[in-house]
């Protein structure tokens, strides 16, 4: 997942930007996603309190409806976390999810928004730090997007 915008540097701790990042909804799958978040919790790893996790059965269950529900109701960005390749408990849910999010990003771009409002990552149940890194990545990408194009509310 690369964005033409990432590559700029923007300090997400910049007060003005930080004030705009309040609600980040992350859908995490029941297997690896939830496992990774639990592992991160047990290890007391810290991340931004703006992250809110929603448990779903499989990352393949997350569709445009869920993503737009989040964005329409105040979320600043949405993330989808599925199992790493080859490990999906339901075989190919994570792959479907990857394709779906990729299409959504293209759609956002077509509509003139930043394509960083929705992102997809993979997780491994025992690797809490990877997921925490992904959360930080989410905040960074959003900060750059806000700096360049504004929040999704501004663009609405």
């Amino acid at each position: 997942m690369t964005s033409s915008e990432v590559g700029d540097f923007c300090d997400p701790m910049d007060a003005e930007i930080k004030a705009k990042i309040k609600n980040l909804v992350v859908f995490m799958c029941n297997e690896c996603g939830q496992g990774a978040a639990n592992t991160a919790g047990v290890a007391r790893m810290g991340y931004d309190a703006a992250i809110r996790i929603v448990r779903v059965q499989c990352s393949g269950q997350v569709g445009p409806i869920q993503i737009m529900d989040a964005l329409n109701n105040g979320a600043d960005a949405v993330g989808v976390v599925g199992c790493c390749l080859g490990a999906c408990h339901f075989f190919n849910g994570n792959i479907l999810s990857m394709h779906r999010i990729k299409l959504m990003k293209k759609l956002f771009k077509e509509l003139g928004y930043s394509d960083q409002f929705v992102n997809q990552w993979t997780a491994r149940a025992a690797e809490g730090e990877t997921s925490v890194g992904d959360f930080e990545d989410m905040v960074d990408r959003l900060a750059v997007a806000i700096k360049n194009k504004g929040t999704i509310k501004d663009g609405c």
Partner: protein
């Protein structure tokens, strides 16, 4: 998009009972209360609609805590509970069981994680953590409001099993199942059982006779009262799901009745001779034949394609067993489990052009299986290894490893893992039988893991088999003399070599068997990218396929040798027997519901469903197979109208959870 759906759902709900929700926020000692202001969270929950009780307590998982939960149900008529504490994995089940004890369906509990997802990870941001916890609890309450009962159903199973393939893995699985008291239908597409193992000369590492090893099993299976064996049979259609499959298979006519005494008179008078498939082309068979002398079933079989209809066999048969009027039969069985033991094929090296396998003038380039056929006790060469071109004993034998394996270009990227072992075994036998000949193995790596195999390698080296580390680039033929030379670099001494090859033996890979494509799609099981059937989990469940109730035994799941195949098959049989012996499957009905007023019969849900749990009938009405469904919810986003919704995970219910977590201010009006 789904507003109409929402309204339908909401109105549906209004006719049900009024939700009465109890919320409990756990301190978990300092784990939660140290960061999150639990009192404030409990207070905020009081104001939410349908909440009749909101409290905080030190340890919800303790006996007292659980009692609080249960009392709220008994005394306040609470019918949905929310506990904001640790993770669902940790204590979700504790609370679910607790409410079940007092008569509530265990799926009416919603676990909110304010520990791993909140207090433990936001230690430096108490205000942010508390705010987040308040939102998480609101989301949990919203979710709880629309939770429905989910029943756990006991589905009776059919106590019978189908085993596809009667090679060593299929035979073992059928035997093990029958010993557990499960009636087995065993089908085999060839005319005899035993598979590739019967084609071998000797098995490694002990150099035993495979016919002798497998004979108790083949005879045991053929005579077992609980096993019905059908040869020349293939699966045509599979319906149903785990515990209750209906399988239709087709049995091709043998044209010889079972009273055949195996005397062989018919074969001796048959005028047609064609290369024997079982003998890998190393000998001929008649149009009416028995694959090999010890074949089971011992009934002869007629090959209709090559038969010219002279009727000599009919005339000469002493018991009038030959009957050209026999027809294809169809049979249907009801079984509770299917074990797929369809085995493998030997890779066809014709694809590798530089080795010239199968080309004119290169008759002396053969595969290891063909070599086994020549060496075996009943071979046409009387167990001698002869050059196919002129029938002479070869003085220089060169074996080439990794043909079709470890080859990104042509063939397959994987290492078969068995070829080094059988090449060394055969090389040793050749050197023992023909001490004056030169036996060379050209390899990239010698892979002989496991007990007794390195010893086999060493014994081959000691007896004088030459090992050259180098992959031959091509086999050159002198057009005048017909002599073959193998061009290889001995990488260890950096010497390019031209090896004389009176006989060149290619160690070909193990590849998926013919017909696995159609079989796999009839069973609705997933295949790996190499073409073998995909196991459920490579480590924890190598004998289960992607579909419940269908198990994998032997090389169909990936290249393996006989010991591994037998062990694998035993595991598959045990899994397959479990729900049959128990008599039922216990399953939670966490399945999707289809709103037929919205369904447009597009079939996208069926396309996306990996366990093939969505059925369609002739009228294009789609329905969910309750037993096969794995509750993943992938069908939901695929549906263009939102007609299919997973129970307790519908778009509507997820939206209720998402809204408070998103901040709750709708800023886009539709």
């Amino acid at each position: 998009m789904t507003k109409a759906n929402n309204e339908a759902n909401v109105s549906e709900l209004e006719t049900e009972e009024e939700p009465r929700i109890a919320v409990f926020v756990c301190h978990c000692g300092h784990n939660i209360a140290g960061t999150v202001d639990v009192e404030k969270v409990a207070e905020s929950a009081k104001d939410l609609p349908n909440v009749v009780k909101a409290e905080h307590y030190m340890f919800m998982c303790s006996k007292t805590g659980v009692k609080m939960l249960q009392d709220s149900i008994k005394e306040l008529g609470v019918n949905r509970t929310v506990v904001a504490s640790c993770s669902k994995l940790q204590h979700g089940r504790t609370f679910a069981k607790a409410i079940e004890e007092v008569g509530l369906n265990k799926h009416k509990h919603q676990q909110v994680n304010v520990r791993e997802f909140c207090s433990w990870v936001h230690k430096n941001d108490k205000e942010g953590a508390t705010q987040k916890a308040i939102q998480l609890v609101e989301a949990g309450v919203n979710r709880a409001r629309k939770l429905e009962d989910v029943e756990t159903r006991k589905i009776p199973t059919t106590k019978a099993a189908l085993v596809i393939g009667a090679g060593v893995a299929g035979l073992r699985a059928a035997n093990d199942l029958a010993e557990l008291g499960v009636p087995v239908t065993l089908i085999e597409k060839n005319s005899t059982i035993g598979g590739h193992m019967t084609q071998l000369n000797k098995t490694f590492p002990t150099l035993e006779c495979p016919q002798c090893s497998i004979s108790p099993l083949t005879n045991g299976v053929a005579n077992h009262p609980l096993i019905d064996l059908y040869t020349l049979a293939q699966v045509k259609n599979v319906e149903g799901s785990m515990g209750n499959f209906t399988v239709e298979f087709e049995i091709k006519p043998r044209y010889v009745h079972d009273n055949c005494t195996s005397c062989g008179e018919c074969s001796s008078v048959c005028p047609i001779e064609v290369p024997s498939e079982w003998d890998k082309g190393m000998s001929m068979r008649k149009a009416i034949y028995k694959a090999y002398p010890q074949a089971i079933p011992s009934t002869f079989v007629r090959d209709k394609q090559t038969c010219i209809g002279c009727n000599s066999c009919i005339n000469v048969c002493p018991v009038q067993a030959v009957d050209f009027s026999m027809k294809t039969e169809k049979k249907t069985v009801n079984v509770g489990s299917i074990v797929v033991a369809a085995g493998f094929n030997e890779y066809d090296p014709s694809e590798i052009e530089p080795y010239h396998y199968g080309q004119d003038g290169y008759d002396d380039v053969i595969t290891q299986l063909q070599l086994e056929r020549m060496l075996s006790p009943t071979s046409i060469t009387n167990s001698e290894v002869l050059r196919p071109s002129d029938g002479r004993i070869p003085k220089n034998i060169v074996m080439i490893q990794c043909v079709g394996s470890r080859n990104d270009q042509v063939g397959n990227a994987y290492c078969t893992g068995v070829c080094c072992k059988f090449a060394i075994k055969n090389a040793r036998i050749l050197k023992e039988n023909y001490p004056n000949s030169n036996v060379t193995i050209c390899y990239i790596d010698v892979r002989t893991p496991g007990l007794n195999f390195e010893e086999l390698y060493k014994s081959a080296q000691e007896i004088g088999v030459r090992f050259i580390r180098g992959r031959p680039s091509e086999i050159l033929r002198n057009p005048l003399t017909g002599e073959l030379r193998v061009i290889v670099e001995d990488t260890l001494s950096m010497t390019p070599l031209q090896l004389k090859g009176d006989l060149v033996v290619l160690s070909a890979a193990m590849v998926p068997p013919e017909g696995i494509g159609p079989l796999g799609s009839r069973l609705h099981v997933l295949r790996s990218k190499e073409g073998f059937l995909k196991e459920f989990h490579i480590k924890m469940n190598p004998t289960l396929s992607s579909k419940g109730g269908i198990y994998l035994a032997g090389a169909i799941q990936g290249p393996k040798d006989i010991s591994e195949s037998v062990a694998h098959a035993g595991g598959a049989a045990a899994l397959a027997a479990a729900h049959l012996v128990k008599g039922y499957i216990e399953k939670e009905m966490l399945i999707p519901k289809i709103d037929y007023s919205l369904c447009i019969s597009c079939g996208l849900c069926k396309t996306v469903c990996a366990p093939a749990a969505i059925d369609v009938d002739q009228d294009r009405v789609y329905s969910v197979n309750e037993v096969a469904c794995k509750s993943c919810g992938m069908c939901m986003p695929a549906c263009p109208t939102g007609a299919i919704q997973l129970i307790n995970f519908s778009d509507d219910q997820l939206r209720d959870e998402i809204i408070p977590l998103s901040g709750g201010e709708a800023h886009c009006h539709d």
